[in-house]
């Protein structure tokens, strides 16, 4: 945001920065981070090898297993997850913001947390509970150990993948829909009540249609997230050869068929983008449902009558099952001496034990294990670096969007910067390997360097960084800066004394958000990591693949705590992510 300093109309006292061709720098950043690596995939596909790969994947002998079945699985999971998330998140949002449900603040607080739990932790916790012994004793879950028969479809494959994704993503729907419901003017529903509308008529005739654009947007977002997820299908699908486009693309690239991987990745992007485009078009006519001023005041909560407690208990069960339960399951598993024995011998070996050849091929507990300690440091370092670089890039791009006079140019820059939202993490990883993994002119290949992971992370988190910078700056009235300038403060002093303190909380929140997205990410880094850069998530994934479940779970607990803690910190810094919880009970 330094660059914004020169943005005022004053001729004198401008910083040099203002004379930089800001738009050029911004476009350069977006180009290098987003446009070129993605365009490179398209170019690769247009090559002879690429065209051959397209033919193979779409019509060849492998087409059915490579593309059509995974596509079918992906779409089915996407649709089920989107519908279930909107229903569950919407119901919770309505209960928390509009009714007199008991415990609604607790439930509202907990409902925001699943989103902070990494999907791969959630997926691992699913195996801890529902895993069966078809993959050998190492993957046995608690239920199985207790003698409860777990059907195969509940242990592995599409159902658990969808369940884990729903348990993760409904939380986004809850936040989006609750925010929309709170914005619906109370007078809109008052007017319906005076017209004599019943509760149901008010809900279905007024409230639902008014928040429909939000429902559509939330559903589309969940769909896009679900179809692009790699962690959940990798952990819950791969062991039983249940594939989605993401796992197939990963397999193709890992086995030396990058072109085939690119075809699948392009398909994923097109599927996600097509749905988002449809959703945007559908929502266009109704976009401006923002309600006019009116009186805030107390919201009258709908009385649920005798259903109050049953609904509260059901809602509480949902939020506990998706927050406390996975964490507890992972923790308990990491403390179990033997996999699959519930309440059997507990041990801290996997946390603090020294190397013992009798256990896990002599692996020391994760806090004793130099590899893990190093991994922890590397992960934090990469997270911090990504956060800083992303915020700086976000500041340049955000300032350029603000300053660009030509509207279409600003819109174009914004669209380009937000493009990574559409692109699955694994696809960004693939694009960066493809482009920066080979030497470019005099520049060496970045493959195997932490830098590759950092710039890929910056690209993936760019939308969040730009968003947090622009929202932080747009909340500061220009008059605040202008009054300091009129009072004689120079641009730098104005920035230090006015702009920075006012924006600081939000900027820090944006930084923490980027940091945590990096720390808990698996999708993006799964193709980028090398043994020299041991990231925590990859390590946990490797442990799980190799059957060292307790280690995987112990590392997962660490990441989960880190992720939830950082998210809560970001919320506290960004001030009230759920303002409706703080309003006095009406």
């Amino acid at each position: 945001m330094v660059v914004r300093l020169g943005a005022g109309g004053f001729g004198a006292g401008r910083l040099r920065l203002s004379t930089l061709p800001l738009g050029t720098v911004a476009w350069g950043l977006v180009g290098l981070l987003v446009v070129v690596p993605l365009a490179n995939i398209a170019i690769e596909l247009a090559s002879a090898d690429g065209m051959q790969a397209i033919r193979d994947v779409f019509t060849g002998r492998i087409a059915r297993n490579m593309l059509w079945l995974p596509l079918q699985n992906t779409l089915a999971i996407g649709v089920v997850v989107a519908v279930a998330c909107v229903a569950l998140g919407g119901l919770l949002a309505w209960l928390v913001t509009m009714t007199d449900m008991p415990l609604r603040r607790t439930i509202g607080f907990l409902a925001a947390i699943p989103f902070m739990i990494p999907t791969f932790s959630a997926a691992l916790s699913w195996t801890v509970i529902f895993g069966d012994d078809r993959l050998g004793p190492a993957s046995t879950g608690f239920l199985h150990a207790l003698g409860v028969p777990v059907p195969a479809w509940l242990a592995w494959g599409g159902v658990p993948i969808a369940a884990v994704l729903i348990g993760h993503l409904y939380s986004i729907c809850y936040l989006m829909i609750a925010a929309a419901l709170v914005l619906v003017g109370r007078e809109l529903t008052d007017a319906a009540e005076i017209a004599g509308a019943s509760r149901w008529q008010t809900l279905s005739g007024i409230l639902m249609p008014v928040v429909t654009p939000t429902l559509v947007a939330a559903g589309a977002l969940c769909f896009a997230e679900a179809v692009s997820s790699f962690s959940a299908p990798a952990i819950l699908g791969l062991p039983v050869r249940f594939h989605t486009l993401a796992t197939r693309a990963y397999g193709a690239i890992e086995t030396g068929n990058p072109e085939r991987g690119y075809v699948l990745i392009a398909t994923m992007i097109i599927v996600a983008a097509a749905l988002l485009a449809v959703a945007t078009l559908a929502g266009r006519r109704r976009r401006s449902f923002a309600t006019v001023g009116g009186k805030g005041g107390r919201r009258i909560r709908m009385t649920l009558g005798p259903a109050r407690w049953p609904l509260a208990i059901a809602a509480l069960a949902v939020v506990l099952f998706t927050t406390v339960l996975p964490a507890l399951a992972l923790l308990l598993s990491s403390l179990s001496a033997q996999r699959g024995t519930v309440f059997g011998a507990l041990t801290l070996h996997y946390w603090i034990g020294a190397s013992d050849p009798a256990i896990a091929q002599g692996q020391a507990g994760i806090l004793q294990n130099p590899q893990l300690v190093r991994s922890f440091v590397v992960t934090l370092g990469i997270g911090l670096a990504t956060g800083l670089v992303a915020l700086a890039a976000g500041a340049v791009i955000g300032a350029a969007i603000h300053r660009t006079q030509r509207r279409w140019a600003a819109a174009g820059l914004r669209q380009a910067a937000f493009l990574p939202l559409l692109v699955p993490g694994i696809a960004i990883g693939a694009a960066f390997i493809g482009f920066y993994g080979a030497p470019i002119g005099p520049l060496p290949s970045l493959y195997g360097t932490p830098m590759l992971i950092v710039i890929a992370g910056v690209a993936a988190t760019l939308p969040f960084a730009v968003q947090s910078v622009t929202s932080a700056l747009s909340q500061i009235s220009p008059e605040l800066e202008e009054s300091a300038r009129v009072g004689g403060a120079g641009p730098l002093r104005t920035w230090l004394a006015v702009t920075l303190p006012l924006a600081f909380g939000k900027l820090l929140a944006g930084f923490v958000l980027v940091f945590v997205k990096m720390v808990r990410d698996l999708d993006l880094v799964i193709l980028l990591y090398t043994p020299q850069i041991p990231l925590l998530t990859v390590l946990a994934f490797r442990y799980a693949s190799d059957g060292f479940m307790q280690f995987a779970h112990a590392v997962s607990v660490v990441i989960l705590v880190l992720s939830v803690g950082a998210h809560l910190l970001a919320n506290a810094l960004g001030r009230s992510s759920q303002p409706w919880l703080k309003a006095p009970a009406g």
């Binding site: 003017g185 007078e187 809109l188 008052d190 007017a191 319906a192 009540e193 005076i194 017209a195 004599g196 509308a197 008529q201 005739g205 007024i206 249609p209 008014v210 429909t212 109704r286 401006s288 449902f289 309600t291 006019v292 001023g293 009116g294 009186k295 107390r298 009258i300």
Partner: protein, 363 residues
């Protein structure tokens, strides 16, 4: 004798520990245009919401045309829909996903009115408000004034006995406000409904009301025809709240068998036997301006003069800056004075009202 359209007895509303309404008694006759006027937070909107049935009273009761609709003790509350009323909100509260026609027709559908009648009602009210051409537009495509008209059309379409307005003009620009005032009076005349209208704008109140209710701190200060409130304010608050410029209120202390106002002797007050200090009310048009001290002349500093309707409103404040508040006088000629010049305001020999320190009117 028919029952009054609205009959409110000792109405109390509490939100937690705060008392928004502290015992309201109000009777509004059929066909009246009743305006609830008061500063923000006085409870006027709460009273309107209780009338509408959007909130239940904590005590006391409401009868509409003799029928009890709310009773704080018995906990009886007839729902808003059972009270045969229409309401226009400050934000207009037009449903953004419905067209103009959809907004007007939906309440009629809810009420179970057959389609042919619905069409007739929509046609009638859109004609009355001059919005026939806008029927297929969405609220987001309308100007503020048009939205206002749609909100009124929606409220009157079911032909309610009672029309409630919650500061309906406060989001409009000044010129549109003047226009909509007469528009609302026309709608009132043509529908014959009883109107309760909440505002903090005394011009709206004085121009539109047939029955004016001035509220403060959850209580009614005074009610009656607007002219009566202006002529005989019952409390110091009403005397200084109503009128433009507001009335002058001065503290008078007993001294040497007479009275002293701001250090100036004032004889002949109609409350000679009162033991302690009293508050005197003087209308601005009865104060005169002088450049020298004299009997019943209060020393002040000239603040400003506003030319209005061929005369001038002169404001001054006390020299000592003590108990004396800002004083206003209406004079024929603008005085050749600049800010801060000394000026003397002469009080007439009789005040227009005398209030005790606790606010009762003594004379």
């Amino acid at each position: 004798m028919t029952d009054p359209a609205i009959d409110i007895r000792n109405l109390v509303k509490r939100f937690g520990s705060t008392e928004a309404l502290a015992g309201i008694d109000l009777s509004v006759s059929r066909g009246a245009f009743c305006v609830l006027l008061g500063p923000s937070g006085c409870g006027k909107s709460t009273l309107l919401r209780l009338l509408a049935g959007l909130e239940a009273p904590s005590g006391g009761g409401i009868r509409l045309s003799g029928r009890p609709v709310a009773d704080g003790r018995a906990g009886v509350t007839v729902a808003a829909s059972g009270r045969n009323l229409g309401m226009v909100f400050q934000s207009y509260a037009l449903w953004p996903h419905k067209t103009v026609q959809g907004n007007i027709v939906w309440p009629l559908k809810i009420a179970g009115i057959p389609p042919a009648q619905r069409r007739a009602r929509v046609a009638a009210v859109t004609r009355m408000l001059g919005i026939e051409a806008l029927q297929d537009r969405f609220p987001g495509e309308l100007s503020g004034g048009q939205q206002q008209r749609v909100a009124i059309a929606r409220a009157i379409a079911p032909a309610p006995d009672l029309l409630l307005f919650d500061e309906p003009l406060s989001n409009l620009d000044a010129q549109l406000r003047v226009e909509m005032r007469s528009e609302l009076l026309r709608v009132h005349r043509e529908t014959g409904a009883t109107v309760v209208y909440v505002t903090h704008d005394q011009i709206e109140a004085l121009t539109m009301a047939t029955w004016l209710v001035v509220m403060r701190d959850g209580r009614i200060e005074q009610q009656g025809p607007p002219g009566a409130l202006i002529a005989e304010p019952a409390t110091p608050f009403v005397s200084t709240f109503l009128g433009n410029p507001p009335g002058n209120l001065l503290l008078a202390e007993p001294a040497d068998g007479g009275w002293q106002v701001n250090g100036v002797a004032c004889d002949g007050l109609p409350v000679a036997d009162h033991a302690g200090p009293v508050q005197l009310f003087y209308r601005p048009e009865r104060l005169t301006l002088h450049d020298q001290a004299g009997n019943r002349r209060i020393a002040g500093r000239f603040l400003e003069a506003l030319p209005i309707a061929g005369r001038s409103i002169v404001s001054a404040d006390g020299v000592d800056g003590g108990s004396l508040r800002r004083l206003s006088a209406i004079v024929d000629q603008p005085p050749p004075l600049a800010y801060g010049d000394p000026v003397f305001l002469e009080l007439p020999d009789h005040p227009d009202g005398v209030f005790s320190m606790t606010g009762e009117r003594l004379a």
